[in-house]
């Protein structure tokens, strides 16, 4: 079924009787050409592009819970391509371009909204770093602007400009950055994949891998063995658990990241903003809630929940940046499990097992990467070659000394 304004009007006038399920609920077949483990954003995007762009068939997505229930369903919805390093920026810019055409491509309104993102800076050294990064972005074909303090003030006059511990000196801005409606991204990809014959199988947890003579034959699941010529794993925070079935230890730790939303408020903040002197970033959803977050809790966790110190730390950042929010109320907190990698950058690569592919290590930045991650993983699965924008995301970069460390924090994942 094609969605359109006309269709919405017709259904409204006829009691909404014509809407059909967005996806089928198929039973798993005995085997597939491609099994994608993980029905989150990246897994669904991978299946979608495999079917649509790479013309592959006999594809299944296995999801242990419900579709879109992983980090794609619990993030702060930011999209941007404001990366510094050569290994990253082309990939994220590719992702941005896919965001820009996404809704028309999969016929679902994911509310991709390029209202701009600013990264505030508060020291001369941070301005130098922002200048370096902004130039790198433009060199890679992305857009970037540098704003001085007064330009920031014109945009957000209610920030603390005059009585701050760390005065705002300016900001790096990407006007094409913004937000997207996170659930709709998952649903749009799911619907698009389903329409192209991909079997989306929910409540199907992978419990083992059948590997013989260095080659994968399929996966054991809570719904029985499912054979596969190729298995692609895209399970974010569960990466280590799933890949352990293939005997692998990963350059990844799982950490909890909390995120927050306030009660609904009349429009205050048009774009996305990150505070440069504390752990706080914020945007305002179309419904009016301030969506914000800060740093990860900092300890290994699979609990999908965090603790009070980080909640306070984030609120402190918020109050330091915009002291008006003291009287706004925090409505809900939640936690997601992040696949924090050793250099803060992802992995999209083959493994030592033939036919087994891995996609992970997205840290807390996986949402914005969703389209390109899906595309690049589909490219690797279909062609056995990395996509041109994802050639750096290899396992062996740690062995070879080619880490992609945007923050310069080294192999301590909770610092990325």
């Amino acid at each position: 079924m094609r969605y359109s304004g006309l269709r919405v009007i017709r259904e409204a006038l006829t009691g909404h009787r014509g809407w059909t399920p967005v996806w089928r609920d198929p039973a798993p077949q005995a085997s597939y050409d491609y099994v994608i483990v993980g029905g989150g954003g990246h897994g669904l995007a991978t299946a979608y592009y495999l079917a649509k762009e790479f013309r592959q068939a006999r594809i299944a997505v296995l999801e242990k819970g419900y579709l879109g229930g992983g980090n794609v369903g619990r993030n702060t919805t930011i999209i941007r391509s404001n990366y510094l390093l050569d290994g990253n920026e082309p990939f994220y810019e590719f992702s941005m371009k896919l965001w820009e055409g996404m809704e028309q491509d999969f016929n679902y309104n994911a509310m991709v909204s390029q209202r701009g993102i600013i990264n505030l800076f508060h020291t001369d050294a941070a301005r130098d770093a922002a200048t370096r990064r902004g130039n790198a972005m433009i060199l890679h074909g992305a857009d970037a602007d540098i704003l001085d303090r007064e330009q920031v003030r014109a945009m957000y006059p209610f920030l603390n400009f005059d009585n701050a511990r760390f005065p705002i000196k300016g900001a790096l801005m990407q006007r094409r950055g913004g937000t997207a409606r996170h659930d709709a991204v998952a649903w749009g990809y799911a619907r698009g994949a389903d329409l192209r014959g991909v079997d989306l199988i929910q409540n199907c947890e992978v419990t083992g891998m059948r590997i013989e003579a260095g080659r994968i034959l399929g996966v054991e699941t809570t719904r029985g063995f499912i054979g596969a010529k190729k298995v692609g794993v895209a399970v974010a925070g569960s990466s280590s658990r799933v890949m352990a079935h293939a005997g692998m230890r990963l350059p990844i730790e799982s950490h909890v990241l909390q995120a927050f939303v306030s009660e609904g408020l009349k429009p205050l903040i048009d774009g996305v903003m990150t505070f440069g002197a504390g752990h706080f970033y914020v945007s305002q959803s179309d419904k009016g809630g301030l969506v914000f977050g800060g740093d990860i809790d900092g300890y290994n966790s699979y609990a999908q929940r965090g603790n009070l110190p980080v909640i306070e730390d984030v609120a402190e950042g918020g109050m330091a940046l915009m002291p008006m929010i003291g009287r706004a109320r925090l409505l809900r907190t939640w936690g997601g499990v992040m696949d924090m990698s050793m250099d803060g950058s992802p992995i999209i690569d083959k493994t030592h097992v033939e036919g087994l592919y891995f996609n992970g290590g997205w840290c807390y930045g996986g949402f914005k990467a969703t389209p390109a991650s899906g595309w690049c993983f589909a490219h690797l699965l279909a062609t056995d070659r990395p996509h041109e924008t994802g050639t750096a995301f290899r396992f062996d970069r740690f062995m070879r000394g080619l880490a992609i460390d945007e923050k310069g924090q080294g192999p301590t994942p909770n610092l990325h």
Partner: protein, 970 residues
């Protein structure tokens, strides 16, 4: 119209009168009222508008679960959007405004949405607004954003103060209704340290709202008696207006005390609110239960309320929700509302008991209820005139905190509700209605029992608690979730989620609870699903033909009720956002009119303007030139200082530095390069050997803390038997750099020893005395490239020392210089600092590759040799100068070869640090350039695409001055 709906009785103080306004109209109420009870007493039912359809709304509840009656409380900078009128304690002068309506609450233009509701079904926006693509940001979204949102912020800084506090107890009792009071009495009498916290301003929970007594007393009297006893116990702390909002790990609870929300302005010295972090060995969740609605057509009109709330308004506040009240219930509890109101002399228009096959099928009244439609068991429909309808669809235990660790509740058929399941926070025991014991007797009994269990766990003997007599009637509920019909029946009132929306979600395959919530926004409103989650789940269960627990469960996340951001931030705001560290010379520098700059937590003097200097460059140029010409003094205390002692200190340093240290003679200083284990440069600095087993390491300001932590890791975890002791002495010593050709002559006036070049050559160090006997440390090291020393004295002498040094320098025209001049001189000399030590650079990148000894196993040595890090054409530190000296350079600009386009393929590196060199008379820079050491003399472009500027530059040695180091050895 003055309190037309006020009726006798209740727990309000009728001797006092409070004036307040709502939407500019004045009303009167009494102490003990909430804004909602005060408005209802004045006959005002319309208090808000719903989110999507802008339907007229009044309160449905009398507590913190209220989804409808949200107002903007107070004015100006204290304006609080989305305040629930049902919990806003009335005070004299209170001012409230309705929100999310235009132009007025009674006439709201966006109520047009209600007429268009067929077009606004669940998830409609996912299916449209896609063409043309550019219209989303430009047209559709701006309209949606303007219409959305609830209340508004003032955009002014919050003028109030918030505090944070820490409390410890044996047993935290959450909720002071019958179960909480019984628990607190049991625990308090046994001597345990007890905190009893309740979100209300009056303790007692439902005992304040019910007419059945406890132990022969009225509920209020029994409560008063219990509180009197508890307040006499020194081991019990009673906290009203305190909501326990979250259960965190290991018995830590977050609680918010609203200290001043019931007064116009916080009293002098009082915070508005306090965030308490409560460390409780055990906790008892006695948070009661929340009543739920039955969905039927137009069940959202002002005047349609929960039956328990109607009862509470009558019994606690002396307020009639209406003059002619109908009751719709599926359980016996609803019948009590009818009985209580009758006893108050109010007219009961009808009692519709769904267990008898009767149901309410609709309602009428544009801005408030006028009548309902009732269908009896035989299918006959009649209209009942009434101005209030009390609905009871059963009670949901307030189990929220038990699911804060993601434990799932379980279904209890007997009360048709979820009750706490396994997997709750360790040490948290639910009791009373929160545990599904919905009678007063059950609450008292299980409260006392939970306390006894907690006491036993903690090794206390539980004191006796004689269970007072109380009602114990069975709930006798027959679930009735919604009344089928053609119209819209509200499930989640604030977000306008109706039964139809749940059905549509089912029809479209959004059947898992999470999909249902996300697709319809059920449970996403400010009440976080307290009003609608279970109802929505029940409707979905009906669609799928499964039981409710088979369909799914619903869990809650912190906070229990929304929390002001100010309370979570406490005092950490504005200048107090982070601690401020001051250097020992700060006072002196301030006297000189220094301009200060934030360097991490430190404030450092950036430059020292002199009269007549109007631009910072004038001051900085003067400081640099004066230092290079004669002498300059700079406070360098912020550099990390670590004392390292012990027999194995030398061997230890050999392992933590990439270069060799064990061979350093006593009395000498060496530059050290420290790597991370992955081979990237972690930090640099000097380490001095003051005695055989006494070393002093310096670190960069930024890395003082991480380096110390790292060294402790090496010492304790890697080489636990090495005889090495570490202590951070950053704050213990005030340290000053004295630089310039006259540095020695200046210092000679202060120090007590011979510091001639022969006695104290370049890279010498010693424990010395100054000013006739004050112990000090002297190092002959140079960051500026000049003849320079760093002299350290105990911090308490820092102020005296800077004054002594400046006095000694007068004859040399010595200047004080700040961080800017420091930065200029280090770039002129080609020293790396923060912009080069960026956590991404290797020793080789910095031109220090030869320092990494491969003859010893130091941290980072092995991985620094990986192929990607030793590439021959990798980045190298270079010096950069503009071909045209008048052109300024910009840090962060990238190198592009001449004649090549500015694209990533031709990106050859970037400028890390740029300064104006007054010595050379033009801009100079350091930069990382691909294969840089082989490109000396080459001309390149440095482009700053952000400003669309470019400068032609020449690549030179990074040592702009004195490359042979003659000055520092002078």
């Amino acid at each position: 119209m003055s309190q037309s709906n006020r009726i006798p009785g209740g727990l309000i103080d009728r001797s006092g009168t409070l004036s307040f306004t709502f939407d500019g109209r004045s009303y009167q109420g009494h102490p003990g009222d909430t804004l909602a009870s005060g408005l209802l007493a004045n006959g005002v039912r319309l208090m808000g508008r719903s989110f999507k359809y802008h339907r007229p709304r009044g309160p449905i509840s009398a507590g913190s679960d209220e989804p409808n009656a949200l107002v903007e409380l107070r004015t100006g900078a204290r304006q609080e959007p989305n305040t629930r009128a049902t919990v806003a304690e009335l005070f004299d002068g209170l001012s409230a405004q309705s929100q999310n309506r235009w132009p007025s609450l009674a006439f709201d233009a966006l109520a047009i949405n209600d007429r268009l509701s067929p077009f606004f079904a669940a998830g409609f926006y996912y299916k449209t607004f896609m063409w043309p693509a550019a219209f989303w940001e430009k047209v559709y979204e701006p309209i949606i954003r303007r219409a959305a949102g609830l209340g508004s912020l003032s955009r002014l800084p919050d003028p109030d103060v918030y505090d944070k506090g820490f409390l410890h107890c044996d047993i935290l009792v959450i909720g002071a209704g019958p179960s909480g009071l019984a628990a607190a009495l049991t625990a308090g009498r046994s001597g345990a340290r007890v905190i009893l916290a309740d979100e209300d301003f009056r303790m007692g929970g439902r005992l304040t709202a019910e007419t059945q007594g406890v132990g022969g007393l009225s509920g209020a009297d029994w409560t008063a008696q219990a509180l009197a006893e508890l307040s006499g116990l020194p081991n019990v702390r009673l906290m009203t207006r305190t909501t326990v909002v979250g259960a965190f790990d290991h018995g830590i609870y977050g609680a918010v005390e609203r200290v001043s929300d019931h007064v116009p302005v916080p009293a002098e010295g009082k915070p508005r609110q306090i965030l308490w972090r409560i460390y409780a060995r055990r906790a008892i969740l006695a948070a009661g239960a929340t009543e739920r609605m039955i969905a039927f057509e137009d069940n959202d009109r002002p005047g349609i309320m929960l039956a328990g709330a109607v009862r509470a308004y009558a019994n606690r506040w002396g307020v009639a929700a209406g003059r002619r009240v109908a009751v719709f219930t599926n359980n016996d509890d609803g019948l009590r509302t009818a009985a209580d109101l009758r006893a108050k002399g109010l007219e009961i228009a009808a009692v519709i008991d769904s267990r008898k096959g009767e149901e309410v099928t609709g309602s009428a009244g544009r801005l408030g209820l006028r009548s309902i439609k009732v269908r009896d068991g035989s299918g006959r429909t009649r209209t009942v005139e009434c101005d209030a309808l009390a609905v009871s669809g059963g009670w949901n235990p307030n189990l929220h905190l038990t699911s804060h660790h993601r434990g799932r509740p379980v279904w209890d058929e007997a009360i048709a509700a979820f009750v706490p399941g396994p997997g709750g926070p360790a040490g948290l025991l639910p009791a009373g209605a929160a545990a599904g014991h919905l009678t007063t007797h059950g609450a008292l009994k299980t409260g006392a029992k939970a306390a006894a269990a907690a006491l036993a766990d903690l090794g206390h003997k539980a004191a006796a608690f004689d269970l007072p007599e109380a009602e114990d009637a069975p709930v006798s509920i027959t679930p009735k979730w919604h009344v089928p019909g053609k119209g819209r029946a509200w499930v989640d009132p604030q977000n306008d989620v109706t039964v139809k929306d749940v059905k549509l979600a089912h029809q479209e395959g959004f059947r898992s609870v999470e999909h249902l919530k996300r697709y319809t926004t059920l449970g996403m409103a400010t009440d976080q699903g307290k009003a609608g989650n279970v109802l929505g789940l029940a409707v979905m269960a009906e669609m799928t033909g499964q039981s409710i627990p088979e369909t799914g469960t619903t869990i809650y996340r912190p906070p229990y009720t929304p929390v002001a951001m100010g309370a979570l931030a406490g005092r950490s705001r504005e200048k107090d956002f982070k601690p401020t560290r001051l250097t020992p010379s700060h006072k002196w520098a301030a006297e000189q009119g220094a301009v200060f700059v934030e360097v991490g937590m430190w404030l450092r003097a950036q430059w020292f303007p002199k009269p007549g200097e109007t631009h910072w460059r004038q001051s900085v140029d003067r400081e640099v030139l004066a230092t290079r010409a004669s002498a300059g003094i700079c406070d360098v205390t912020t550099l990390g200082k670590i004392d390292i002692q012990g027999k194995d200190a030398g061997a230890f340093l050999n392992r933590v530095y990439a270069n060799t240290f064990a061979t350093l003679p006593v009395g000498k200083v060496r530059y050290g390069l420290m790597l991370r284990e992955d081979g990237i440069v972690m930090d640099d600095g000097t380490t001095a050997r003051l005695a055989e087993d006494e070393w002093v390491m310096t670190t960069t300001t930024a890395n003082a803390v991480p380096v110390f932590r790292h060294l402790e890791f090496c010492r304790q975890c890697l080489w636990p038997d090495m005889d090495v002791q570490l202590i951070s002495t950053t704050e213990a010593w005030a340290q000053f750099s004295v630089a310039g050709p006259n540095a020695r002559r200046l210092l000679e006036k202060v120090v007590d020893q011979d510091i001639s070049d022969a006695a104290f050559p370049y890279m010498a160090c010693a424990n010395i005395t100054v000013c006739g006997g004050l112990r000090a440390r002297l190092f002959r090291i140079s960051f500026s490239g000049e003849l320079a020393y760093e002299i350290a004295v105990p911090t308490r002498y820092g102020d005296a020392m800077i004054r002594a040094l400046m006095k000694a320098g007068e004859e040399f025209d010595a200047v004080a210089y700040g961080t800017e001049a420091l930065g200029v001189m280090r770039v002129e000399k080609g020293h790396v600092a923060g912009n080069e030590l960026n956590g991404q650079s290797t020793a080789l990148n910095m031109g220090l590759g030869k320092m990494v000894s491969k003859k010893k196993d130091a941290i980072g040595m092995v991985l620094s040799q990986r192929e990607g890090m030793v590439a021959k054409d990798g980045l190298r530190l270079v010096g950069v100068k503009p071909v045209d000296p008048s052109q300024p350079l910009t840090a962060g600009s990238h190198f592009i070869a001449m004649g090549k386009p500015a694209t990533a393929a031709h990106d050859d590196g970037w400028l890390t640090s740029v300064v104006y060199s007054p010595h050379l008379g033009h801009s100079i820079a350091l930069g990382y350039l691909k294969d840089g050491s082989a490109r000396m003399g080459e001309r390149l472009r440095t482009v700053n695409l952000l400003k669309k500027t470019e400068v032609e530059v020449e690549i030179v040695s990074p040592h702009f001055i004195d490359p042979e180091g003659e000055r520092l050895r002078a």
